[in-house]
Point group: C2
Amino acid sequence: MQPFADRVAEATGRLGPLCVGIDPSASLLEQWGLPDGPDGLRAFGERCVQALRGAVAVVKPQVAFFERLGSAGMAALESVIAAARAEGMLVIADAKRGDVASTAEAYAQAWFSSPLAADAVTVTPYVGLGALAPLLAAARMAGGGVLVLTASSNPEGRMVQEAVTASGRTVEEALLDAAAELNRAEVAARPGQRLGSVGAVVGATRSPQALPVATLGGVLLAPGVGAQGATAADVGAAFAGCPPGSVLPSVSRGLLSQGPDGLRSGALRLQEDLAAALG
Amino acid sequence: MQPFADRVAEATGRLGPLCVGIDPSASLLEQWGLPDGPDGLRAFGERCVQALRGAVAVVKPQVAFFERLGSAGMAALESVIAAARAEGMLVIADAKRGDVASTAEAYAQAWFSSPLAADAVTVTPYVGLGALAPLLAAARMAGGGVLVLTASSNPEGRMVQEAVTASGRTVEEALLDAAAELNRAEVAARPGQRLGSVGAVVGATRSPQALPVATLGGVLLAPGVGAQGATAADVGAAFAGCPPGSVLPSVSRGLLSQGPDGLRSGALRLQEDLAAALG
């Protein structure tokens, strides 16, 4: 399997950078006329995949909206992931997992080699990036990505994310630095590989230009486009120095609330705006 | 339903403070002679419950070790949680979940009102404690607990957890302060309630005495007893000022590696040592 970042660059080069969230909340299911049960979750996800095939390179199921119905919801997620991958889409499981050592290894198994296997998984770094090493190793082996939650869009996150580490850098800066170092080492060891497997999640509304995103050397997932407020132009300005094909602006409710019929046309419009803005 | 902390104090008052992890890793399954599949996970968990009934008040399934087999693993977790609760045990789902707003709400549904429902869930606070408000609200409604990962046992966690926030407090101190404030408000609004629903996870090896644990006013989960190094005496010293019945020292591999037969006697020995040390 080709490395994740290369697959992202290739696929978004064809279809555009937009990543669409698959977030079957109770209220969206109701709006789409679907039951709030495992079958509704499955139908919601499959309709998203059908509407977006050939229009979007990357989808991002939010795991919590499946897990909320227990194992039956997780079974629906497995179907949705499989449907998206069968259409050639890249799937980012938005799971925000993260725990130490042997537990990180178990999460690696879940998200890279169980029926839940995706192309990338989001992780949360409260236990430190080093503790997630087994997940990163598994990702590289599988040609997958690990996207580290770094700068979240919500104001309550500032307390942790802007705290100052021993090196004088903020937590979010230090995490991006550490991820960049992992990516440099990975790329150095693999001639021909351009970007590394460690990506970051940086809210599009979070002034990414003030953070060392351009030197990450991995995929940047940027939620917060549309409903949460960032325009295509904002995204272009915020990630100006990043390598081509490495930025994935992501939208969820803003598009999903247009219903299954408006989803494809809305996505195509956003693709155009984003492709222009990201140059 | 009685508040979580009251239920913990009542149950540990009868049986002792020990919390036992249920961590069906591939290597432990092999050691126990069980297949590494959903049936093996279920059998492992149910044997733990049978071995520990009447000996331990609280068990803590590590969700990652179930999730690693996908939805079938999560179905096994549902059975194990149900088996433990049927025996009157309190169940802490060690899920380390955490995400913003509507996603936190979805996780609340998963862990307090789906087939995965437990008595408490561990959460990770990288997005800030405030972002987890929907989870806390759901916990209170359900008489459940939310245990905030605060000081993890691994060294890589120091970078984030000891970073200094705008108030001059470290991240781990500031989180304990914020949780204490939520607990004070909760208790003030509910005459007769002694402790609040917001607990914390503080590694037993992490010098808890240097942190404001005694003023938390909620349950303290302290992993790292046994295999990872803290003795009963360490735990007693570390949590000396905490309210009676609020500290749950937790052990996983250290006991589980004794096999299903040694589990009960090992747990009973630890209960004695811990009860003496926590006074």
